[in-house]
């Protein structure tokens, strides 16, 4: 029983959160997880699920998690790309569920990409070996 407008409004807000996903893409932040065969083999699924979990836990709006096929850098899988409107995309490599928590906290919430997980950082490391 809804007994007041406030209660109606609460239901509205809660239900809307669930439906955020049905917005057309391109509006908020888009987290794209590589989910081709090698990505899945390297553990992309738990990474993706962790993103979804963190987003729900923190009640983040305007963030969608999308999958994509092969990105072409199989040895760096799991790969995650973060697209923010009007910003350059950030590519994270060798992701794990633990790393996801940090990316969500620092990048998605506070807008500061976690450089030590990005592809540039990883490539430098390889070059310096």
């Amino acid at each position: 029983m809804i007994k007041s407008i406030q209660e109606l409004e609460e239901i509205r807000k809660k239900a809307l959160e669930e439906l955020e996903f049905r917005k057309q893409q391109g509006e908020g932040i888009r987290i794209v997880v590589g989910m081709a065969t090698c990505g899945i083999a390297a553990g992309a699924r738990p990474v993706m699920l962790k993103f979804v979990e963190e987003i729900q836990k923190r009640n983040l709006k305007n963030v969608t998690v999308v999958q994509t096929g092969c990105i072409g850098l199989c040895k760096y899988e799991p790969i995650v790309e973060v697209y923010e409107p009007n910003k350059e995309k950030v590519t994270y490599v060798k992701m794990t569920p633990e790393k996801v928590s940090k990316v969500v906290a620092e990048h998605i919430v506070n807008g500061k990409p976690v450089y030590e997980y990005t592809i540039g950082y990883e490539e430098n490391k390889e070059a310096n070996k």
Binding site: I2, I5, L8, R12, L16, F21, R22, Q25, G26, G34
Partner: protein
């Protein structure tokens, strides 16, 4: 509530369901279970998305991938490729929705670009069986606003200022109707929703009830508040089982949530709704017949006045509106009358839903601002005429309406411009016709419908329309005379003037309107015994081209009517009086020597 990372929307509208979307829905549930995606992906059945010609339709969010013509055998691939591995199944995407490798947003697709969805705002967007999804998109907010911030007089004033006119056919100003019902003396009043939808080819109201039943429920409650009524009825035809089921679910949910019943939203307003099933007689859509039918009698019209607003159901003041009319109300309350009045034309405000059918590429359910031209609808939204054929006319208003010929394609569509052309807005059936359609035949089709549906109470309608039909039959069978045309017109005008209810009064319209724009076609039928469109079978001639015929005799052997004679190696001939126009000889002739001639 769990958060899903993807939503799969399967169209549960009329068209897609008949195309097998039930099976597709079940297949999704099964495959998602198989791939262990149950906690991540939610499958939802929605109402019609509009593009029924491309159905069954499935949309996957968040990408917004618009899959068309999906079969249940495609489901596994969508689940495995798209939902599990993130690879969109391009071969199933609606052809127009992929641009430079990026999925175009639905609004960018040509079919949707010129549309504006007010009455259909939630159709194909929400799960019609889940009240919370309706609430998420501002559902019942208008009811809340009305109950706490507005007086009944203000509500009526807003509806008046919005300029909304009835979408059930006549186009009577809705606010004025509400005011009459509110001012009528009496403690007991009723709110009725007309969901009879008898027009052949029309399915707008059905789609709204199937895709967004709560919008009608909310609007009826608002109307109840405005006129001082506690009880509503939805009169819906029993042939619409899915609409009835969704409406039942919605009404029960609304009761559970306290949005129907006593003390709605904690106020002292009380309102409830019951469903009444109709047997599907066209005349029961007429308002006085409809109310008689709800009362449990045979649905026969009675003279007006007294109008329902004064003396309606059980002789109490009754407000009766069409489904689509109601569906507009919550938006008007939320966005304001000025907003609504800014859409459309001078005297026809807002949008109109049409069921676009016939000889057009994108058949489906569309909603356009009043004032959109026939050309925009047929060419831009409808995607033109299939098979490179020429556009001939559109028929609007069903059995009460008429045609708009190709030469008037740039007419902006609204109540008054259509009436001026001798047709009607009607409830929104729109049948596109190409050069192969015979206009006499179309008039005959609608008149056959009227003759079947006349309740028989008054002679002009019962006898007159039958006489008209007989004349049309005579003309299309090649036995018409010029006098018949005169008689036809005479009859038409006298029926219009003397029939008791709208059914009889408008029954001659299809004939009058085709006579007005396509008189030459009638004349070709009576004077030359020729059907220019080549549609009237009796007037067709099957002829053998002497120069092409090699005299093999195959046609004669195959003719079931023994109409073909000749001598081997000489051209054969068809006896037109014996030929039954079955076309068998055309198929059998190895030299393509036989053809139809108009």
């Amino acid at each position: 509530m769990p958060l899903y990372r993807a939503h799969v929307l399967v169209c549960g509208g009329t068209g897609c369901t008949s195309g097998g979307s039930d099976k597709i829905y079940d297949a999704f549930l099964k495959e998602i279970e198989n791939f262990n995606l149950k906690d991540e992906v939610q499958v939802i059945r929605t109402g019609c998305f509009g593009l029924c010609a491309e159905g069954p339709i499935v949309i996957v969010y968040p990408e917004g991938a618009f899959y068309s013509k999906v079969a249940d055998s495609d489901v596994k691939e969508i689940v495995e490729e798209h939902l599990l591995k993130g690879r969109i199944v391009k071969r199933l995407l609606y052809k127009e929705s992929l641009e430079e490798g990026q999925i175009k947003s639905l609004n960018e697709v040509k079919f949707y670009k010129k549309q504006m969805r007010i009455a259909l705002r939630n159709c194909g967007v929400i799960n019609p069986e889940n009240i919370e999804e309706y609430i998420a998109y501002d559902g019942y907010k208008a009811l809340a606003k009305v109950l706490t911030e507005m007086t009944p007089e203000q509500v009526i004033d807003w509806v008046k200022r919005s300029g909304l006119r009835g979408r059930g056919g006549g186009g009577f100003p809705t606010g004025l109707k509400w005011e009459f019902a509110a001012k009528a003396p009496g403690d007991v009043k009723y709110v009725v929703c007309n969901a009879d939808e008898g027009d052949p080819g029309a399915y707008m109201d059905r789609s709204i009830l199937e895709g967004d039943p709560h919008s009608v429920i909310e609007a009826m409650a608002i109307a109840g508040y405005a006129i001082g009524s506690k009880q509503g009825y939805v009169y819906v035809r029993a042939e619409y089982p899915l609409a009835v089921k969704r409406l039942e679910i919605a009404i029960n949910q609304a009761r559970e949530y306290g949005l129907l019943g006593k003390n709605i939203l904690g106020t002292d307003f009380e309102f409830d709704i019951e469903i009444r099933l109709g047997a599907g007689a066209f005349v029961c859509g007429e308002e006085t017949a409809l109310m008689t039918s709800i009362e449990g009698h045979r649905g026969e019209p009675r003279p007006r006045p007294p109008f329902p607003a004064v003396k309606g159901l059980w002789s109490k003041p009754t407000l009766l509106n069409n489904v689509e009319t109601y569906a507009n109300i919550p938006v008007i309350i939320l966005k304001g009358p000025e907003w609504f009045a800014s859409i459309g034309t001078e005297k026809s405000k807002g949008t109109k839903v049409f069921a676009l059918v016939g000889k057009v590429n994108n058949t489906g359910l569309i909603e356009v601002p009043m004032g959109t031209t026939v050309r925009e609808i047929v060419e831009d939204i409808g995607g033109g005429i299939p098979g490179g054929k020429k556009f001939k006319a559109v028929q609007t208003g069903g059995p009460s309406g008429g045609c708009i010929p190709a030469s008037l394609m740039d007419t902006p569509i609204d109540f008054d411009s259509l009436t001026a052309l001798g047709t009607m807005m009607g409830s929104g059936g729109m049948i596109v016709m190409d050069e192969d359609t015979c206009m006499v035949d179309i008039a005959k089709f609608f008149l056959e419908f009227t003759v079947d549906e006349s309740c028989g109470k008054c002679p002009p309608c019962r006898i007159g329309t039958r006489r008209m039909l007989e004349i049309l039959q005579k003309i299309t069978s090649g036995n018409g005379t010029e006098e018949d045309l005169e008689k036809l017109e005479e009859l038409a005008y006298s029926i219009k003037d003397s029939a008791l209810c709208g059914l009889g009064q408008t029954a001659p319209n299809p004939v009058l309107s085709t006579l007005r724009y396509f008189r030459d076609e009638y004349e070709a039928h009576v004077k030359e015994k020729r059907c220019p469109a080549g549609a009237c079978k009796a007037l067709l001639r099957i002829v053998i081209d002497k120069d092409l015929c090699k005299g093999c005799g195959i046609c004669a052997k195959n003719c079931p009517a023994n109409a073909i004679t000749g001598q081997i190696k000489k051209p054969f001939e068809i006896d037109q009086t014996k030929c039954i126009k079955c076309g068998v000889c055309i198929e059998k002739c190895p030299f393509k020597a036989i053809s139809k001639k108009a």
